[in-house]
Amino acid sequence: MKNTLLSLNEATRTVNSGSNKVTLLDNINLNVEVGEFISLMGPSGSGKSTLLNCIGMLDHFTDGGYTFLGEPVHSMKEKNRSKLYKEYIGFVFQAYHLIDELTVYENIETPLLYKSVKSSERKAMVADMLDRFNIVGKKDLFPIQLSGGQQQLVGIARALIGKPKLILADEPTGNLNSKQSEEIMELFAQLNKEGVTIIQATHSESNAAYGSRIINLLDGKIV
């Protein structure tokens, strides 16, 4: 029996644009088991990013139920929700979104600061991560001094440092060339094998193929 990581029950997201009500996500039903690698596909504007953001609790569904590890997220207070995603979710972005003013080392360390991890422990964890991604030599550089692929490596390292159960990746290779993107996808596959659940949004068929399940979105609906 597999464990359910999260489940969406008729989850809907609408926004008001002027006087029009626009439905971004329309009655999504989705179960994600622990250890899955899901690829979200669909054209621009189909709702991939919105769905990722909502699952990642940066945004919220306007209707329907969202359960994460058995807890009802939709009826949770902001504070608890933030605790939940701090603990279990890591983000990887298309534009990397590293903090320009911080070095590689400091960027990776930041999530630990917010989790109030002790200094000595932090050092060990960041050192491990740098080691694992082969970027020890770059730890004192600033993001602007790195190539795109390297920046995304740092981004992934940062997402992983908190030992999340779920990684949400929004077009992680969108700004990379094919060689770099292959490396990144290999990395995801490797992580998935180690037990991390991954949901990625992508345009690329070949990237999507790394996933264990492909979900196609169109106009906010699963098709």
Binding site: S49, N53, G56, L58, D59, K79, S82, Y85, K86, F91, F93, A95, H97, L98, I99, D100, E101, L102, E106, E109, T110, P111, L113, Y114, K115, S116, R158, G162
Partner: protein, 815 residues
Amino acid sequence: MIKNYFKIAWRNLMKHKVFSLINIIGLTIGLSASFVIGLMVYYDATFDDFHKDGDRIYRVVTDLISPEDTFSISGVTLALEDEIKDDSNFETVGSFYIERPSKVENRELGSQFKWPNFVIFTDANYFKIFNYTFLAGDETNILSHPNSVILTENRAADYFPNTVPSDIIGKTLVYNDSLNVTVTGIVENFKERTDFVFEEFIAKPLLLQTRLRENFLNLNWNNTNDASQLFVKVASNADVSAIQNRLDNLAAAHQDEDSKKYGDEQKFGLQPLSDIHFNEKYGIYDWTKGQANKSLLTNLALVAVFLLLLGCINFINLNTAQASQRAKEIGIRKTLGSSRKQLISQFMGETFLLVLISALLSVLLSKWLINVFSDFVPDGLNFELFKSPLIVVSAIVLLIIVTFLSGFYPALILSKFNTVSVLKNHLAVGDKKVKLRKFLTIFQFTIAQIFIIATLLVGKQINFLLTTDMGFKTDAIISVYSPRGEREVSKKELYAEKLRAIPEIKEISIGGTPPASISTNSTSLSYNNGEKEVNTDLQFIFGDINYSKVFELDILAGRSIRNDTVKELVINETCRKKLGFKSPEEAVGKIVLLGGENVPIVGVMADFFQRSLKSNIKPMAFRGDWNRPDWSQFQGLHLALQNESSEGLKTTLSKIENAYKSVYTEIDDYRVEFLDESIQNFYNRERKMSKLLNWATGLSILISCLGLLGLVIYTTNRRVKEIGVRKVLGASLFQINTILCKEFLILVAIAFVIAAPIAWYGINNWLQDFAYKTSIGFWVFLVSGLAMIFFALIVISVKTLQAANANPVDSLRSE
């Protein structure tokens, strides 16, 4: 975490150097002003706060209230002490009398000291109220022996150099040539800040062997003198209102018939010890030291607050304007698990870092500022005060307040961003806050504008004060005063004789004070014109027959006095009108009643200003020195010079001084005053205020313009593309500059509209202090408004011209 915040804060400061610099300059100016002014307040507020039970110590003071005026005297009549000393409301009643001996000799060493300062005649009660530490001598029987004196450490070092205190006890000093007095105690000088500067405490009974003997034998309720001081320490359960009642009753009981007739009253009051340093009405003992002025301190504090506010506003404006640049970092931090609270504390940390840098700079600056503002800063104030714990704590509290004031709002704004839209670059942050920034900018410029208008108008008034014709000659007149305490005229005449030999001197007069001075001498005068009696207070100027020539007084009718001692009056126009004479001619020859004597009016002189232009012209008369030889009103010589320019002035002055030394061979008390300088000194406070305003104006313009510059840089950078497009479409440099400047100039203009009435109201209020005032001219407002716009335009154009000049290809290609 904290370390991480400060690291980021530091990197952000370095990344936006211009903005950081603007913020730091603004805050540094505000903080420096606050530090220096805070030090001043602390310095003045801690005078005499160390006395045991200081809150129960009061000085008894006197107000002489007449229908026209109130005179305040820090002393009381000698008769009062005996009446109240048995009152159980008082724990101790102690009096002392300030009197400078003419000479003190230490015959053992053969040394002598003339006119030593800060000598009081007192008794053991004084030492019960004020606790001195005895270095030597009997502490239990203080001044119990009639011929004894206690010296402070400092004074003892003068009289008995290189002698240890215990050896000085029992030695003899000779006062005024004949009084042998034994030293019975040496006390420590007060180490803390104090206005009790006395150095020499002589047993009271010795007063009976001085010129003051009569005053002490015949206690007179109508004789009050600043020298006769009375202090009380009230009992801890005392009823202060009952004491006041008692004093009021005593004053009423001893009011004499004349006072009742003229409506004069004497009122005793209790002045708290803590008030002495602040209340200029009653004064302090050492006139050379400044007293604290509450209104000046308040004004200074207001200036500091405004400068600090301007700095904070710059911070708020620049940080909210820059918000979009920080937005990405904020969004990322939120996805990494930062709570809003954590973000707010991060931004507050950054603000604090900036404030801290400014504070450190300010501490350094303060050292320099204390020198620049030496006019305001009390002499004893120095940088060391920064070490006192209260100052340190207040400074830290101030830093925290400033941090919150400037950092809290931007932190709220920044931390509020929606993560998703920030990361998608959908953000139009900052735009919503434009209104607030405009409001704050208007506020800044309103303050700057008010300062400009006030500076111009105060300057105008001071110029008016200094250039208005006083009504008598004020240029090239020198007054040389005779030694203090000289009672006869013979030496002055001898001196005048010697001065006549100096060709540079045109006229010489022996007399009292010049026509305009800060001291007054007045008596009541009555005149009966056959129908009714007119009473008035009459002020006097005293002089010989040359007095009116030296000062070029304008005699309208009749003549000046015939000789130095004849009982004749030359009244001024105001007095003439008050007495009801229709013309100057009518007044001449009339007899008035003056202190029980009939005195004829022999002339009428034109009105002139007797004091500063703050007060109205009062009834005044010029008269001779007719109380001679018992008492002479002549205090010195007034000399009119031939040459009105300062050419050769130095040699003339040295001739005058040499002549003085040849007459007064024994006494070294040469005092010379220039009349025009003395008149300028009437307006010291105004001139100080003007200097203060100049600084406040300069600094507030600087801070506001820096803030404006920051906003302009920000806005212009955002409009680079628009500028490029307009240029491609054919706009000229001037057109583009106009578009860019307009937005900001409107703010400055609105600020002017708000500032003008406020400044007008404030200045109008201030001018009420003056009996004679300049007009508040329309042009002043016009000029100050234009000046402000001019400054703003320069600042704006620095950036906009650069932007307008840029090659549009560069700005458009990047998109």
